[in-house]
């Protein structure tokens, strides 16, 4: 399990057309990795994420994706994910197929993926129109009660990308705080890339802490601040002000494109991205 640069991790492991899940439920969202995918101009991705918020607004607006599997897409606590909306509503910058679930359905699909079961099961989608627009939502009959239960096909992304607080030099990863479906998405994937705030000698995991052992991790990159504007418990808080500011940036195609050009495509890497943000007076 090598510790590499983020540039190399994305170059080596994310291919055009791959199914890619960047997970992290508000906390520990791998923004730097998403931006590196934009920077390396990946195309035709099937993006998977429970809550496609700013990170996928950026990737979809920048034209990386042809398909989105999700359960809630917006700017949490602020409003719309404007780029995702325009992709769905107007096909800009390209059409976006969607595969839409509820949170409970997505969670069950990741759990099934991690357990290498072909499907997940829940008492869900009752009385909703979601099964009518998503043919992947089906049902099984309970062999004991005869009850019908909803099913979702397992999610097994080609690549899952996570951000975590810490890795040790062997590549064991510790996650602490709000967990989302990160562990399940990580274990469901064919390849698992992790960006971390720091690489340490001793992982210092507490008993029953959430650890991804080195032998399930494909590559690690040390990217302090890599979850900004989301947060990394113990390192920095959520930059709520940026989430609010993003609403204006993303609302307009031109302004969005200029932002991506200036900060992402126009910089060499995440260090360059942060330097330019700082130069422009954005706290980063």
């Amino acid at each position: 399990m090598p510790i590499v640069t983020l540039t190399a991790a994305i170059a080596d492991h994310v291919r055009d057309g791959d199914s890619v899940a960047l997970e992290g439920f508000t906390h520990l969202i791998p923004f730097a990795a998403g931006q590196e995918i934009i920077r390396q101009r990946r195309r035709g991705l099937h993006l998977i994420r429970m809550t496609p918020d700013l990170v996928y607004d950026q990737m979809i607006g920048a034209g990386c994706a042809r398909r989105l599997t999700f359960s809630w897409g917006g700017n949490p606590g602020v409003g719309s994910a404007h780029r995702i909306r325009e992709a769905i509503e107007a096909g800009w910058p390209q059409p976006l197929e969607i595969c839409e679930h509820s949170h409970a359905g997505m969670a069950a699909a990741y759990v099934a993926g991690a357990a290498r079961l072909p499907f997940g099961m829940l008492r869900g989608y009752l009385g909703t129109d979601l099964p009518a627009v998503n043919p992947a939502i089906r049902s099984v009959e309970c062999p004991y009660t005869g009850e019908r239960l909803a099913t979702v096909p397992a999610l097994n992304p080609d690549v899952t990308i996570l951000h975590a607080q810490r890795a040790d030099r062997a590549g064991n990863v510790l996650i602490s705080g709000i967990l989302g479906a990160q562990k399940e998405a990580g274990l469901a994937a064919r390849k698992l890339l992790v960006t971390v705030e720091e690489v340490v000698d001793d992982l210092g995991a507490p008993m029953n802490g959430v650890v991804l052992p080195h032998w399930v991790v494909t590559a690690i990159a040390c990217v302090p601040g890599g979850a900004w504007p989301s947060y990394a418990r113990g390192h920095y808080p959520r930059d709520n002000a940026f989430y609010i500011a993003w609403d204006e940036i993303a609302r307009d195609r031109g302004r969005f494109t200029a932002w991506i050009e200036r900060y992402v495509l126009g910089t060499q890497d995440f260090a360059g991205f942060r330097a330019r943000l700082r130069a422009d007076g954005v706290a980063a």
Binding site: F25, T26, H27, M50, F70, S71, W72, G73, G74, P76, G77, V78, A81, I84, R85, I88, E89, E100, S102, H103, A104, A107, A108, Y110, V111, L122, R123, G124, L126, G127, T128, D129, L130, V133, E147, R148, G177, I178, L179, G180, A181, K183, E184, E197, P224, G225, W228, Y231, R233, H235, Y236, P237, R238, D239, N240, A241, F242, Y243, R274, A283
Partner: protein, 267 residues
């Protein structure tokens, strides 16, 4: 707001938040969403329900935030929680497990049976407005012992027919929900900027059960896209007390201050 009297010295959001908070009891296990529900649940906790158990879908159980979260997963929620568990566990063991007394839901549209749309305005394949989507709502609506809906009333939001059913209320009414196998009792209140709608026995159609002092039933009817029934014994909701308003405004002020604090990233 189509208030028919002079607007009171509190906002519609404040009145709705206070009304929602009053419906929560001490010890109640509450599945909370962001925004008004979160404000209401925390207001209840700060006032009459110190033992309320707040669960956010991000995995925080028994959380006691000092400021309101902007997102469902702000750090504050984890730091003050009794337990922080994986999200799949929240949906499987805690929500589907039947452990939630009250689920709060918002939406873009509601119909007369309390079904909700938070997915799309216009056709699904050719959306006029693509909304964020269902998120946790379908299973909150199915499994919470009861659901409170919070939504401002207008002919655009209180519609005869939803563009999309994101989460089920009483479906087509008259017992259809029970037949669907949904374990919870369904939506028991819609809290609006006019008052509170409750389902009628039998038909399960929502009727105006209570109004705020400063609005009339006629105005509420006018702000509804279906012919809204008004309960014979229409209750009047007491205005926010000074204690309620002070606690709510202090909470919002603390929140405002916390959210505008600049973030310093590590070098």
């Amino acid at each position: 707001m189509n208030a028919t009297t002079v607007a009171p010295p509190w906002s519609a959001d404040e009145m709705m938040t206070v009304t929602a908070a009053r419906m929560l009891w001490d010890g109640c296990v509450c599945f909370v969403g962001i925004g008004l529900p979160s404000a209401a649940a925390n207001l209840a906790r700060l006032l009459h329900a110190p033992g309320i158990v707040l669960i956010y879908e991000s995995g925080t159980i028994g959380t006691r935030p000092d400021v309101l979260p902007l997102s469902i997963g702000d750090g504050e929620l984890a730091e003050t929680a009794g337990a922080v568990v994986p999200l799949p566990e929240i949906f499987a063991y805690w929500l589907q497990g039947g452990r939630i007394d009250v689920g709060f839901l918002g939406a873009a549209q509601v119909d007369r049976f309390g079904n909700l749309n938070s997915t799309v305005i216009g056709p699904y394949q050719q959306p006029k407005v693509r909304l964020p989507g269902a998120g946790g709502a379908p299973e909150i609506a199915a499994h919470a012992r009861q659901v409170f809906v919070v939504l401002k009333q207008s002919a655009r939001s209180f519609v005869p027919k939803l563009d999309f059913v994101s989460s089920g209320g009483f479906l087509t009414g008259g017992g259809a929900r029970r037949l669907s196998g949904a374990p919870g009792a369904g939506p028991q209140a819609i809290i609006t900027d006019y008052g509170v709608l409750r389902p009628q026995a039998g038909s399960e159609e929502f009727a105006l059960a209570a109004r705020y002092e400063h609005v009339t039933a006629a105005a509420a009817v006018k702000a509804t896209g279906w012919p809204l029934t008004v309960a014979a014994s229409l209750e009047v909701i007491a205005p926010p007390t000074a204690t309620e308003l002070e606690a709510l405004r202090a909470l919002q002020a603390r929140t405002q201050a916390a959210h505008s604090r600049p973030v310093q990233l590590p070098v």
